[in-house]
Symmetry: C2
């Protein structure tokens, strides 16, 4: 555990969005292990307002893919975690959305911790959120789509380095000391 | 880096809110290192809509502390990271708040990676958000308070185990397979 502590900042910096996947199974145990990390995310009042559709079936993936301009990524990914806000568990709009963000970051970091596996957060699908609800038969007054995390085995040959998205503001730019 | 990957889920599970601190300096380098991890958080369109007031000065801490029922924690913490949404950098309310949540989770995990240091996310302060803006002379139409992360050296003798907040729903409860 000491080594992870020393390396943690490097680990978090090396995480990046992966959009090119080879078709190869990801064990159920691996998916559950990623969710095991995610569920320890903090949330206001510990409300844990998340709901996840774990989407592996090709037909269901295709239905979701057709709603996004990133449909190719969704179809190529072995599994898509389709994440909803459980509106009945939530209690404060700002804090609920922050909690979902923490939960999704934990998933991305959990994916990054797995050898040869990568993922990407797809937010653009929110443009068609009601239609996503329909696919999973979730009423829109109870569940609100929050995004999709597409996960698969990294296709190194096709995966490009996108330098722009690797840019971040320097700490000086967004901090002030008091 | 392999070890960190193996241990990551354990690492993330062991993180917990820490509310009892002993007064001991935290190096500027340590604070910067925590923020170095945080700034690699994902955000929609890579907008990075965060602003952080790093609050160490006792007078400023007291002013903030007076606005919260958790003022004792804020005053005891060596440093408080007072986190705002930079409304001009933001572009989509849902995605901005999710990005802030990911950023704050990265801070909490970065704190957890430091030996003997702990922290807690204080959301209750949002009840008095305009007054927090006033302390830091930030206009409310440009910056919106998102929360505070209080950070300090853990006082093991005073720190209680709060079993209720350590509870999480099982994966079965919030997932469905497709």
């Amino acid at each position: 555990m000491d080594l992870i502590k020393n390396d943690f900042i490097e680990f978090i910096k090396q995480r990046k969005s992966v959009r090119s996947f080879i078709y190869q199974k990801i064990d159920k145990e691996t998916i559950l292990n990623i969710l095991e990390g995610a569920r320890w995310a903090p949330s206001g009042n510990n409300s844990q307002p998340w709901r996840v559709c774990i989407c592996i079936h090709p037909t269901v993936k295709r239905m979701v893919a057709e709603l996004s301009k990133y449909g190719g990524i969704i179809e190529d990914a072995y599994v898509n975690l389709v994440i909803f806000l459980d509106l009945e568990r939530g209690y404060d709009r700002v804090k609920d959305l922050q909690g979902i963000g923490a939960f999704m970051e934990n998933i991305l970091l959990g994916v990054h911790a797995k050898e040869d596996i990568g993922g990407v957060w797809i937010g653009e699908i929110l443009n068609r959120k009601e239609e996503v609800n329909e696919i999973f038969k979730l009423p829109t007054d109870k569940f609100e789509l929050m995004g999709i995390i597409a996960i698969g085995h990294i296709d190194d040959a096709r995966e490009k380095v996108r330098s722009k998205e690797r840019e971040r503001r320097s700490i000086d730019e967004f901090t002030e000391w008091y």
